[in-house]
């Protein structure tokens, strides 16, 4: 599973961080950082993160 975030869309709502803390986080500068190739066991979490992104900036590729 590959996770792609469109950083031109991202507006730092942080909803993905709440939904999938193992994959998304804010770095020390307050910018979104993510694991680009998380374990497939985290798929539910990542799908939820994609669902709750207000900007629909998260895409899952297989």
């Amino acid at each position: 599973m590959k996770v792609v975030v469109d950083m031109n869309k991202c507006q730092d709502h942080g909803q993905c961080v709440f939904a999938a803390p193992d994959v998304f986080r804010f770095d020390d500068a307050g910018h979104l950082a993510h694991v680009p190739d998380p374990d497939d066991a985290l798929r539910d979490e990542v799908e939820e993160a994609a669902d709750v992104c207000p900007l629909q900036a998260i895409r899952i590729e297989d």
């Binding site: 869309k9 730092d12 709502h13 942080g14 994609a50 669902d51 207000p54 629909q56």
Partner: protein, 402 residues
């Protein structure tokens, strides 16, 4: 008996319900009925990026989960009737869809002002078509804009109109402060100052009695007889639930569709309601059923309700605790953001500044019975981050009882 699940309403709530039915293990047929010709799309940008001309439709459309690739879409058509005893839904093209499970996801439509005067030049904002029509009017040079209603949509449209270079932007509301309903006085006052500093005018504490003009609106008449000149009027005065198609089934449809704590409708196990049409009790707070028009609610309700319905359809036990979401909303206006977690509306009588101050970045805490029930940040990135830190605290609290 039909095994089809019919989802009526093809907006965010309907899409999420279908996806969550698949996630909950329902492998049978699903039909999605939607009045608009479009696949489900994201509405928050309509009052901001779409009005400002910065977002093409392709950027708004939701990317459906892979699990719903096989659902049947019936777009551009509308449910006109349902018979919950016979388990059928009738569409406006005469089709009768039998169902084994029904998802009510028909959402809301804008309320209109009923006062005398011309209709041309008056807009509402709910759909993509609405936003496109309004943009055309707002971008005419020298446009004088009157927004009726100082809620979420009204405040966002006013901010966008200023950014688009409208000659005058005036917000009219019978209440004394903008967004005072969801925010309470402290933040509503801070919000008013920010809008005024950025060029929005307000006529507060006044209603609208009529519209001036022959065919096209030229002004908005207020309670005291004065007229606010207008080329464009936006009516942002709340919404009405789309429930007429459910009439005649003995349901409580007084404000949306009443559900139980598992989002089931009318005591039935085969009918659930999702999204902002659902009036549900939130076990996190109390037993009072309320509709919640926040962006987070379609996804939250869909996840819970789909498990309930899938369990019924497959004859298993969902074993779920009552629905208890932590609501969240945000609103981008001018160069600032409002970010909320919890239910500040329940704690408006006891608002305390938790961080910052109302003229800059501020975080307000809303309390009921001395307990924190919601937080709202107003300002920039620092305020939103502060709200996020308090979210965990809100989540940890045991359920409140009325």
């Amino acid at each position: 008996m039909s095994t089809n699940v019919v989802v009526v309403g093809a907006s965010m709530a309907g899409l999420r319900a279908a996806e969550q039915l698949r996630a909950a293990g329902w492998a049978g047929p699903i039909t999605l009925v939607g009045e608009e010709p479009h696949m489900p799309y994201n509405r928050p940008p309509l009052s901001k990026e779409v009005l400002a001309g910065k977002a093409p439709f392709a950027s708004l459309a939701f990317r459906p989960r892979a699990g719903v690739a096989d659902v049947e879409w019936r777009l551009g058509t509308r449910a006109v009737r349902a018979d919950l005893d016979r388990r059928v839904v009738e569409l406006d093209d005469g089709t009768v869809l039998p169902y084994g499970g029904l998802v009510v996801a028909t959402g809301m439509r804008p309320r209109r002002l009923r006062c005398p005067g011309p209709l041309t030049g008056r807009h509402t904002l709910r759909t993509l078509a609405d936003a496109q029509g309004l943009r055309e009017s707002l971008t005419r040079p020298g446009a004088r804009v009157v927004v009726v209603g100082a809620g979420f949509i009204g405040c966002e449209v006013a901010a966008t109109a200023v950014a688009l270079g409208a000659a005058e932007v005036t917000v009219v509301d019978p209440l004394p402060l903008p967004m005072v309903g969801p925010l309470g006085e402290l933040l509503a006052r801070a919000l008013l100052r920010r809008h005024e500093q950025r060029g929005v005018r307000f006529a507060l504490g006044t209603g609208v009695t009529g519209f001036e003009g022959a065919e096209h609106v030229t002004g908005v008449r207020l309670d005291d007889g004065t007229v606010a000149a207008a080329d464009v009027v936006v009516e942002a005065v709340g919404s009405v639930a789309n429930t007429e198609w459910l009439d005649g089934n003995g349901l409580d449809l007084t404000d949306g569709v009443l559900t139980d704590g598992q989002l089931r409708v009318g005591g039935r196990h085969d009918v659930i309601a999702v999204g902002d049409v659902a009036r549900f009790p939130n076990a996190r707070y109390d037993g009072v059923p309320r509709r919640v028009e926040h962006w987070s609610i379609p996804t939250d309700t869909a996840k819970h309700a789909a498990r309930v319905l899938a369990a019924h359809l497959t004859g298993t036990d969902a074993g779920l605790a009552p629905f208890a979401p932590l609501p969240t909303f945000w609103s981008d206006q001018h160069d600032f953001r409002l970010q909320s977690f919890g239910a500040p509306v329940l704690g408006k009588e006891d608002v305390r500044v938790l961080e910052g101050d109302p003229d800059g970045d501020v975080l307000a805490g809303y309390h009921r019975g001395g307990r924190l029930v919601g937080v709202v940040a107003l300002g920039g990135r620092a305020a939103a981050a502060a709200a996020a830190r308090h979210r965990a605290e809100l989540l940890k609290q045991p359920a409140l009882t009325a």
